[in-house]
Symmetry: C2
Subunit: 439 residues, 2 copies
């Protein structure tokens, strides 16, 4: 099959490449889902789509979520993490059927697409259903099964076996969907897993060259609980097990102790930063300015939709940037360019997908967002493109969202792969059933 | 002239009245711009507009801005307040002509309307041009001329006379536009005005029963500068002049000292809280949780569009709420209901307009926003309406915005009173001219 190249001609292309280049009046050619051409010269072949007053930016990467939790959004707000989890979320989560997770995930994926997110890292139960939703929607994802032998009263071996079964089943899906579905181990946290289970994952990750996705040092309560149980802070505890490495994608990491910054940077741990969730659940403020200074890779994330309550990395860029300025009393920290990196290329690096996605360069997948400068008033006037993107406009400016060269969302035409009205009804049905059963 | 009542029948009406009532399946009747009816029973007369899956909320009040600064948006980000002001903003502001301010203000008003704001408090130069934009747009506003004898090298009497001239000229406009245009004195700040000028305003405000709009205790630098100059912190300094009272609308108030909370609460000072601007300019974090505990009235504001960079109170609700939770490590502070109050009725109270606006009650003006639950995915599922409004959705959900019973903005049809395309061109022209002249 010969596929003709599609050529887009927007006003600007924000590449997020090594030199942070912003290309004015350039052409971008897409073939077989890949960026095949990027240049000032008009290609001689291909269908050219003129995009005046449009900006192309790389698709955002949501580096930590529990996407199926759309079902539970708004169940209870204005309470702390442990109350929220134990009193409101867990009782309903126990009632979730696999198919519920599929619908919840598909809905969350639709939401993410509408906010310009083209790849995400997930952790949940019935995760194979999330994989099915990913494939049906056509988005890209790294998926981990949330393993927690402590929570579920299982032996480490039993819990590890469940994760390995998921890996096996996901592998079959991944083979049919090259470079769309990826696997990561997902030990829930230092307090949700026994030492034995953590070590099983650590060894398997090393042997099979697989990434590990974990919650780490999210709250002061966690730090105290792990310290009480092990005599060590969560970061030192994991490090003492030989767990920390550049394969580890650690969500939150809000409460490092002073000497732990160097552990994180020396081991090459990736920090997945969820500013809105950490604030809203009163977990605290992650010291990303220090992480960035220390050369630690920081990627932006939304956390689950029930604790944020939105799946919008564009919003997280804004919150992350102004929050650090305000906390550090320094307006120069986390400038717009850094916020954009955390939302794109740093996410790709964290997920181990830097050779595929995260920037707009030839040879990478054509995962991008078309931003329409006419859509909102806040884009006028503008001076610096990245500054405008991060501070002045938001996901309202999205015209369309593309994964592997295929348009999956268009603001006017809707979703290519998802029947959103039927799905919305389905979500409400599931929610009502859960609330009925929980009574 | 007989005006037939318009009757709207939305799914919910968020009243923000004293009892914070949320009315399900109620009718709201509007006559002569006023809410004439609010009840469960269908009125026998009037044209009924069915609004299924819609929520009516009071129009947001933006309690502190410099709206014409749309012209200067994005000029320079990622720098501190004093650098931003002295190096980038002031050189261009000096080149502003009165008509530029008109266009800048009209553009900002359009932006505010598109974000559900129906009333605002402003401070700027050439403020009579802002008044003209307010009248042309049909929005509601309290306007103050930014008086600063220190900045402009004028005598206190000269500067006061300019403010009084503005008051006189505004009065003529206000008479023709009842309850739409209001006046407030606008001494810029304790460091921008001499003691004599502050006292002139204080006396005149007392004599004429007029409100005073001032910047107060915005940065640590200000606290130090005022202390160096007067021997007192800004709040204590103003209080020593007998300046502070329930007529004072004080923007920012980020750096009170411990004993100053009681001064603010005893004098009945209204605090205008600009969370995004304070973070972005690294001014700090205003302790509104303490203010609220102490019974101080806190209203939400955006600050000028060049320091935020958006005129969106809906966003400020989200930022204000999650920020306080995160800072206080307490998820219960500034719950959704409090955030909504700060964005509506507290703003009306601060501006002295509580009898006219800020809640949806019979006898008040019909200033409201129609929220369409079908417009974004984030509205599904929902449990608690206020929680959904503050945490899950944003101004993307706005269907239309009404002031005094007249629709001024419709998401599909655009603006009723503003030719936005021509205005956008105009704004770009002004910006280019300013940059050219500044070279």
């Amino acid at each position: 099959m010969v596929i003709r190249m599609i050529v887009l001609h927007p006003s600007y292309i924000v590449t997020m490449d090594k030199n942070n280049r912003i290309l004015e009046d350039h052409y971008i050619g897409i073939e077989n889902g890949i960026i095949a051409y990027l240049g000032k010269e008009k290609p001689s072949e291909g269908d050219i789509v003129e995009l005046p007053k449009r900006i192309l930016i790389p698709g955002f990467i949501n580096a930590h979520t529990h996407v199926a939790m759309t079902i539970l959004r708004g169940l209870k707000d204005d309470v702390d993490l442990q109350t929220w989890l134990n009193k409101y979320i867990l009782p309903l989560e126990k009632l979730l059927k696999p198919r519920d997770v599929y619908y919840g995930a598909l809905y969350g994926i639709a939401e993410m697409l509408s906010n310009g997110i083209t790849c995400f890292l997930d952790m949940y139960y019935h995760e194979i259903e999330v994989a099915r939703a990913v494939v049906d929607a056509g988005i890209r994802a790294v998926l981990s099964y949330g393993s927690a032998d402590v929570f579920f009263n299982r032996t480490p071996d039993e819990e590890f076996k469940i994760a390995e079964e998921f890996r096996y089943n996901l592998q079959k899906i991944a083979e049919k969907n090259p470079d769309k579905v990826f696997f990561a181990y997902g030990p829930h946290s230092p307090y949700g897993c026994t030492k034995e289970l953590l070590q099983l994952f650590s060894q398997a990750a090393e042997e099979n060259n697989i990434r590990i996705h974990i919650h780490l040092s999210e709250t002061q309560q966690e730090v105290k609980a792990v310290k009480d149980a092990t005599g060590k802070t969560p970061i030192k505890y994991l490090d003492s097990l030989g767990f920390l490495s550049s394969k580890v994608m650690a969500a939150h990491v809000v409460w490092p102790q002073d000497h732990e910054y160097s552990i994180l940077s020396e081991r090459g741990v990736h920090v997945l930063h969820n500013p809105s969730s950490n604030l809203k659940l009163a977990s605290g403020i992650c010291p990303i300015t220090r992480y960035i200074e220390d050369g630690i890779n920081v990627a932006l994330a939304t956390d689950g939709p029930a604790s944020n309550n939105r799946l919008d990395i564009w919003k997280e860029m804004y919150v992350a940037s102004i929050l650090q300025k305000g906390i550090r009393l320094n307006p120069e920290v986390v400038p717009a360019s850094e916020a954009m990196k955390m939302a794109t290329i740093n996410g790709a690096r964290a997920l181990g997908l830097e050779r595929y996605i995260g920037s707009l360069e030839t040879g990478k997948y054509a995962d991008f967002v078309i931003v329409d400068l006419n859509k909102v008033l806040e884009s006028t006037p503008f001076h610096d493109i990245l500054s405008m993107i991060v501070y002045s406009i938001d996901s309202r400016s999205i015209e369309s969202v593309w994964v592997a060269g295929k348009k999956l969302y268009d603001h006017n035409e809707g979703f290519t792969t998802i029947d959103i009205d039927a799905l919305r009804e389905k979500l409400n049905e599931i929610r009502e059933r859960l609330l009925r059963e929980a009574r």
